[in-house]
């Protein structure tokens, strides 16, 4: 069951906390969900980040910022990590880290790219590839609190094999409309040929600008620039578009 975030604990100076891997789930060919147990986790808002720090035996240490994938749920925190082949951290997290291993985690952080259940305006979620992760946290939070706020998800992904959260998004979530756009290859008999998403994809699957939706756009830098530009061209006010870029360093 979702636990409300405690805002006064979201501020304050951050400390690294030990986080123990308790489960790992396959999400796609290249993505894994890592479930961590973090004692005294203060709760979080959908869309927030954590920093993960890894330290080698020789003392070398490196850190990365990841979006939280789960709705707030006690002391459990889920990250969905897509492997970047030449990456330094993601291959380790997705393949080498074993259940029972401990990493250090700092957060939750960030109050900008978040959806709060008290928001009543319609929501447009536009995700590219692993940019779906923080948007999924919003979808899960909406479900966990029983919100009836209308959501529309437009998910652009290379191929069905790269799709995240397939079975969960197949579930019926009343008030959540889902549109999948495949850029390289589609499922059999898919009506839309593979290709980059366009203004007409966004206008048919999104909300009219005069509904004044808040738009959350997350993906690679190029995806975010393109999608945010199309939304502005369609008439959405820039102040209603919140973006989050996932770079190669992720």
């Amino acid at each position: 069951m979702a636990r409300a975030a405690v805002p006064r604990r979201l501020g304050g100076r951050l400390r690294w906390k030990p986080a123990r891997l308790t489960d790992r789930r396959v999400e796609s060919q290249v993505a894994r969900t890592l479930v961590f147990e973090v004692p005294d986790w203060p709760g979080h808002l959908a869309g927030q980040h954590v920093d993960v720090r890894l330290t080698a035996e020789d003392g070398y240490s490196t850190q990365r910022s990841y979006s939280l994938a789960s709705a707030a749920d006690g002391e459990h925190v889920e990250l969905t990590v897509q492997r970047v082949d030449d990456g330094e951290v993601s291959p380790y997290l997705t393949e080498d880290l074993a259940v029972g291993d401990v990493v250090e985690l700092r957060g939750p952080v960030g109050g900008w790219f978040v959806w709060r259940p008290e928001q009543k305006e319609p929501i447009l979620l536009v995700g590219g590839g692993s940019g779906l992760v923080p948007l999924m946290a919003m979808i899960r939070m909406r479900r966990a609190v029983g919100s009836r706020t209308p959501f529309r998800l437009v998910y652009s992904v290379r191929s069905p094999e790269h799709q995240l959260f397939v079975s969960e998004l197949r579930l019926d979530d009343p008030g959540l409309d889902k549109t999948y756009l495949y850029s390289r290859s589609t499922p059999p008999q898919w009506p839309r040929p593979p290709g980059r998403f366009t203004a007409s994809d966004l206008s048919s699957a999104g909300w009219p600008p005069d509904f004044e939706p808040t738009c959350y756009v997350c993906g690679s830098t190029g995806f975010v620039e393109t999608a945010a530009g199309l939304l502005v061209a369609l008439g959405h006010h820039p102040a209603r578009i919140r973006t989050e870029r996932f770079g190669p360093s992720q």
Binding site: R8, R9, L10, G11, G12, R13, L14, H49, V50, D51, Q63, S65, R106, G107, V109, G110, G111, W112, F113, T221, G222, T243, E244, R245, F246, G247, P248, S249, Q250
Partner: protein
């Protein structure tokens, strides 16, 4: 100047900034001294690949803030910001 695509949002720097300032700096607002653009720092372009962290203006790509950490010292240069208005630390 030309934009290199290798940046993230100010959000990606949230942890580092909060560990220094003790408050959520991504919701802090500021004004670029170079082009007068006003923004919340979550909208700044964050370059995290170097030895340290650089935030640039989403309007003119001017450097807003640099934060470099060594094992014992931190170096903060926020000279590109005319002001920062931030939440009071908890």
């Amino acid at each position: 100047m030309s934009q290199t695509p290798d940046f993230l949002d100010g959000n990606a720097a949230a942890g580092e900034l909060q560990s220094v300032f003790g408050t959520d700096m991504t919701m802090a607002s500021g004004r670029c001294r170079g082009c007068d653009e006003e923004m919340v720092l979550a909208q700044a372009h964050a370059y995290l690949g170097g030895p340290g962290m650089v935030l640039r203006c989403p309007g003119c790509e001017g450097v807003l803030m640099r934060l470099v950490r060594s094992p014992s010292q931190m170096w903060l240069d926020a000279g590109g910001l005319a002001y920062v208005q931030m939440p009071v630390p908890a």
